[in-house]
Amino acid sequence: MKKKKLLIVEDEKNLCLLYKEELTKEGYQVTAVSDADSALKQIKTKAFDLIITDIRMPARNGIELITQIMALRKDVPIIINTAYQSYKHDFMTWAADAYIVKSASLDELKAKIKELVG
């Protein structure tokens, strides 16, 4: 079976590394970038099965990124993965398919990815 392709947008260097390693271990093909502009570059040239992004990032924030992803690739599911609990009820985040508050255990994130892409 072909590996599912994930794009992770996370500006914290160590977290980015952690997600990449852990999700690769789960059997995904993972591309990790640290800002929205690099993410857009990736999305324009490659097809992803799922995009996981933070909201607060330098330069362009996650919400802007999501808007642009939706314009480019309407069908790709998006998970918002952030340290901010408070954005959860913000209507702008409804555009995403899931909202996960970062936790020291990656189980919730892994389960959500499985649910969305298999």
């Binding site: 977290l15 952690l18 340290a83 609990q85 408070s86 970062k102």
Partner: protein, 451 residues
């Protein structure tokens, strides 16, 4: 055609009725920088000013914890005293400032036995069958009492205190709640209370209720703002702590995997250690901000402070190949501040400057005198400047232009400078650069600091 009049009237024509003048004074007192107690004092004064609404004495109760609490009692204790008070109050040209001053002195003076007599009085409002004075407030009705000794609804303890057969109880109410009560009598002149007196007193009662209600609302708003600020702070702190915690948790889990190599284990441990240090820095920042405790500014050697601060930022300067120019005006040796906090504040500003300038840029750290009185420590950079939209808010806590910033740096600087009785000025042009100036006293102001 239109005609314009000043909102606040001061000079009334001779024929204006005393009542209208008094109500004007009462209404305007709300706009004065008076406290609630002063506003109420104006109303109580209007009620008792001999030439005004004409009651002899006025008693104020405020509702506290389900009971009427005696607050003050205005008026003469005897006929002789009455004459002297009324003479003062009917002096032509007497304004509300004078009235307030006069009555403030009256209610706070030791000799004021009337107020003393009711301070200890409380009457519960929530009893099954409240007696007067609580009955009027509890039922939100104006009650006129005549032949009080024969009236079973009058509390005996209260009757002994007021020692008057006829008195008028005016409830003070807000939208829903009971706020207090005013009790009026003519015990000195024994003039009967008439309908007209009741009408005017009821108006005063409504205004007093309004004043109390508004002041309660204001207090509630201040409390809510505090809670909101705390919520904001909690949110920022939570976020700041979450990222390092997630990183530590994830890499610790990997350590538990028996398949991970020795090299990976070592790498993970290093990451965990680094994240723990970051957590520590966050906590340090936060405690530093919350505990600015400066007792007395002392003379601090500027040369020494500059030296320490420059050393502290040297690695960051080198990292971006920046030049730091330092200059101290000859003869200026010390600034009155706190040696630790002021140095830390200066370092915060330097750190911001380092963030703001491009690689190879220049930062100037200067100290000079202004008007002989101030020692100015300035940090100037030729960086990107502060965006116009945040300029006004940069000194507020939890406002940051940096995505990873706590927004505590400049809030801390401001607290430090103000605690040292100095001030801070910022000058910034987008694309040109920013200059921060910290003003500390160059020498002690006369009588201000201990030698």
């Amino acid at each position: 055609m239109i005609e314009r009049y000043h909102l606040f009237l001061h000079d009334f024509p001779q024929e204006t009725s005393k009542e209208l003048q008094l109500f004007s004074i009462i209404a305007q007192s709300f706009f004065q920088p008076f406290s609630l107690m002063d506003n109420l004092l104006v109303i109580m004064t209007a009620l008792t000013a001999g030439s005004g609404l004409g009651f002899n004495r006025a008693m104020l109760f405020l509702a506290k914890r389900g009971a009427l609490q005696g607050t003050y009692w205005l008026g003469p204790a005897s006929l002789e005293e009455a004459e002297s008070i009324w003479r003062v109050l009917s002096t032509p040209g007497i304004g509300y400032y004078e009235i307030i001053e006069h009555n403030r002195a009256l209610v706070s003076a030791d000799a004021d036995t009337l107020t003393k007599r009711i301070k200890s009085l409380t009457f519960p409002l929530d009893q099954n069958e409240p007696q007067l004075p609580a009955l009027a407030a509890a039922s939100k009705e104006i009650i006129l009492v005549k032949e009080a000794s024969n009236e079973p609804l009058v509390d005996r303890r209260f009757l002994e205190t007021i020692a008057a057969e006829e008195f008028l109880c005016i409830p003070l109410v807000g939208k829903e709640e009971i706020l207090g009560e005013i009790v009026l009598d003519n015990a000195i002149t024994r003039r009967p209370i008439e309908n007209r007196d009741i009408e005017l007193a009821s108006l005063c009662g409504l205004i007093a209720g309004n004043f109390i209600y508004t002041s309660h609302l204001q207090r509630r708003i201040v409390e809510m703002k505090k809670v909101a600020a705390m919520g904001e702070m909690a949110m920022f702190v939570t976020h700041q702590l979450r990222n390092p915690l997630v990183t530590i948790g994830g890499f610790a889990d990997q350590l538990l995997d028996p398949r991970s190599s020795a090299a990976k284990r070592e790498r993970n441990l290093k990451i965990i250690r680094a994240e723990i240090r970051r957590l520590e820095r966050i906590l340090l920042r936060l405690t530093q901000f919350l505990k600015v405790d400066i007792k007395e500014p002392v003379p601090v050697d500027i040369r020494e402070m500059f030296k320490l601060v420059s050393q502290a930022v040297r690695p960051r300067l080198a990292g971006k190949k920046l030049t730091l120019k330092t200059e101290i005006e000859p003869g200026l040796n010390s600034a009155f501040c706190d040696p630790i906090h002021a140095g830390e504040a200066l370092r915060n500003i330097l750190d911001n400057a380092i963030d703001a300038v491009d690689v190879g840029g220049t930062i100037e750290l200067r100290a000079y005198r202004e008007n002989d009185e101030w020692a100015v420590l300035s940090v100037r950079d030729n960086g990107k400047g502060i965006p116009e939209r945040v300029k006004e808010k940069i000194f507020e806590a939890f406002v940051s232009t940096k995505e990873k910033g706590m927004g505590l740096g400049l809030a801390y600087v401001k607290r430090v400078v103000e605690a040292c009785r100095g001030r801070i000025v910022v000058d910034s042009q987008e694309g040109q650069g920013t200059t921060f100036r910290l003003y500390f006293r160059a020498k002690p102001k006369e009588g201000e600091f201990k030698p």
